[in-house]
Each structure stands twice: as C-alpha cells, then as structure tokens.
Symmetry: C2
Subunit: 223 residues, 2 copies
C-alpha cells in the first residue's frame, strides 16, 4: 500500500512503545515513523521539518514535559497542530478528558483498552474524526447526560494542569523534603513566597498538609 498512515508514539515506557509497534506491524495501512520517551522529545521531533507523522499517540504522564504541556506547547505555537493527537492514559477522570479535548486532542484511549481500539483509533483520527475507547466514551456520555457518578471528582477534581508551573516546581521540592526556607534558596525566592505557594497548593488540592501534597504528587507521578 502506498499511503500508509504514519504514526508517532510517545510514552516513557519503552516496553509499551515496543508493544504497540508490534500490534501495529500486522496492519498494512499504518506504520510507526518515530517515537519519544518524554514530552521534550516529542516537541523536538515535530520541530524537525524532515519528520512528519499523520497521527501522534501520546501518554500524559511523562518526564521532562508531560502530555498536557506538549498539547499546550503545540497550541501556543499559534500554528496548526502538526497532526491529530490521541491521548493514551491510565487516567479516566472526566475533567482530565475534557481538558485535553479543550487543548485540541482528537482522541482519548484508556490504557486498559484493548489493542484493537488503538488500531481503530488511528484510522478514525487519521480520517479526521474523533475517537474514544469504549470506557472513555461511556464516561463522556454519562457526564453529558448528567448521570455523573463517582468519577466527576477525582481528588476533588483537581488536576495537575490546574497547578501553575511555579506551584508544580515548589511541589517537587516539597516532595524532596525541602522545607520552605530551603526551597526559597533553591528558587531564589523569599521564604514567604514559597509559603504562599504552599498554601495555595493546599487549597487547590484540598488536602490538610504537605503530606497530602506529596501523596497527590506521587499518585499523579509528577515527582
């Protein structure tokens, strides 16, 4: 076949990339033309004029820059997206899904979905449609129809992306057990400022103490 769909995969788990590559290899209308292990690599790859892809499948949790940051970066560049983007995540929080759609994603796959879904998703998205894996689609419909049950508020609905860059930065230091004074030194700030950020984090994430902050960070792998 001549016009194969060119796919780029981004995930920090190489084993998953290899796995998806193996899954796609039996399909004769698509091929993997590149992969990235973190968000920075994704942006770098698409910057290169010689590299092109028709579909980008991207995890949200990645080091360096996460999937949200990549979406924002692409959106900010003012230009059009390099290609349709499918988010592949283990999270299925409705707010997160809404967020990435707002940021321009064309599809959303839960990691617990089957390999078939990914093939289908690539074809549909490459054709200009949107695609959501079954469980995700269910969530969206539920939420739309007001049937939202438990999943509307994961940790009270606060997402990583609801935190500012500075707050995330401070949070990382908190998780390294630095106290406010030490963090202030690291970031060249006043300890008072760090304390303010810390308090804002407590409010946003609705936790009682820095322990809650650390656990949130751990659960969302932003540390």
């Amino acid at each position: 076949m001549e016009n194969k769909i060119k796919v780029h995969i981004a995930d920090d788990h190489k084993i998953l990339i290899d796995g998806i590559e193996a899954v796609l290899s039996v399909e004769d209308d698509m091929e993997i033309v590149g992969h990235s292990l973190n968000g920075a690599e994704v942006i770098q790859w698409f910057k290169s004029k010689t590299n092109k892809a028709d579909v980008l499948i991207m995890d949200i949790n990645m080091p360096e820059k996460d999937g949200i940051a990549v979406l924002k970066a692409f959106k900010k560049g003012r230009k059009k997206f390099p290609c349709p983007i499918i988010i592949l995540s283990s999270y299925d929080y409705i707010k997160l899904i809404r967020e990435v759609l707002k940021l321009g994603a064309s599809g959303y796959l839960a990691k617990k979905c089957a390999g078939d879904n990914i093939v289908e998703a690539i074809r549909r998205v490459a054709a200009g449609d949107q695609y959501f894996s079954p469980t995700i689609n269910e969530k969206i419909v539920q939420s739309f129809s007001g049937l939202k049950n438990a999943s509307e508020k994961p940790l009270e609905g606060m997402l990583i992306s609801a935190l500012t860059d500075r707050e995330k930065q401070v949070l990382k230091f908190i998780c390294q057990e630095y106290n406010s004074k030490e963090i202030a030194e690291q970031l060249c700030l006043s300890p008072n400022t760090v304390e303010t950020h810390r308090k804002n984090l407590l409010k946003k994430l609705q936790v009682k103490s820095s322990i809650g902050l650390a656990l949130f960070a751990a659960q969302h792998k932003i540390i």
Copy 2:
C-alpha cells in the same frame, strides 16, 4: 517447536498485555497461555489445576491485589511457587527491588526497558536463572558496591517488613493526614507514644519528615 515456554501476563493495562503478546508472537519458543488484569485474577488462574504456565510476568500496581500481595500469597500458601515470576514495574526503587526478590521473584524489568529484554528475560528465567533489565541491574550493582552514597548503610535495608505492626499502623494514619493527637485518639494511645513511633519511623526509613514517610508508603503501596 514442541516445548514452548508458556507465559502468563498480569497487568491492569490491557493495551500493554496486547502489546507484549504481539512482541512475543514473533518468537517461536514461547507463547502466552493466559493473562490477568489484577492480582486476584492471577491467584484465581493459578489455582485452577488445568492452567499452567512456565513464567509469570506481573506488574506491581494492580487493583484488587497488587503484585506484592500476590507474591506473598504464593509464598504463604504453598512452599513452592507455581512458576518463576518476573516483576514488570515502572518503579525502580532499590528497596522495592530487594523486597520483591526477598519475596521470591526471579526477575525484575523496568517498564522503560525495551521489548527485547522481555524476551530475553523469559528465556533466562524459564531456564532457572534470574534476569534484570539493564537499568535495574545497574541499580543493584550500584547499591551492592555502595557506590551510590551512604544510603545503603546505617540502618539501611529498611523495608516494609522491617517496620513493626504498630509502626505500620501509625504510618497509615499519617498518610491519611491525621496528626499525632488524632492518631492517638484513633488508637487509644498517648500522643507521646505516637510521636515516638513517628520518630522511630523517621529513623528506620531514613527520611527527614513525614512527607518522606508518606512517599515511602505510597511507593510501597502500604496505604
């Protein structure tokens, strides 16, 4: 080939199972004979006398029962494991690695390792050897040779199992953001006693603050 290595895969991400299955399908000396999406399924599957596998590849983070719990269950019930077990995890903490090895695992793969490693791991482990993916092996050697830093000496080797029941109990409450006074009420103890447990936890786990305790607990899934 007659004697294919029979593999069972356990991971809560179906897409990863499908991926690994695709990777293994091109190897003619192994085959996947089953898979599980959580720890309970693993135990269930191996309970059935009709099901047999030569190697179990298992994630640590799974709902219902996690990988650690499965290892413990196998160790507890029978004397012999149903088969060699390879842990597949995104965590590469040295303490966690040591813990699963203590619990009888035969191999450890980081999820960021390549697909080739998994094939190699299966062959080696099926032959009765141990196998660790490159980055993991590095960590083990580093730790063994003490090159890392002093973190492997003083009261090191501190694992979940090194904590007393009471300490674990207190730790759980700490992770729920209770303060010492509240924990004392819950456990009908003096706040002073709780403080002592807290301080002993800090020493044993060699962390600076309760944040470190919470992160340890999160990483070791004891919360």
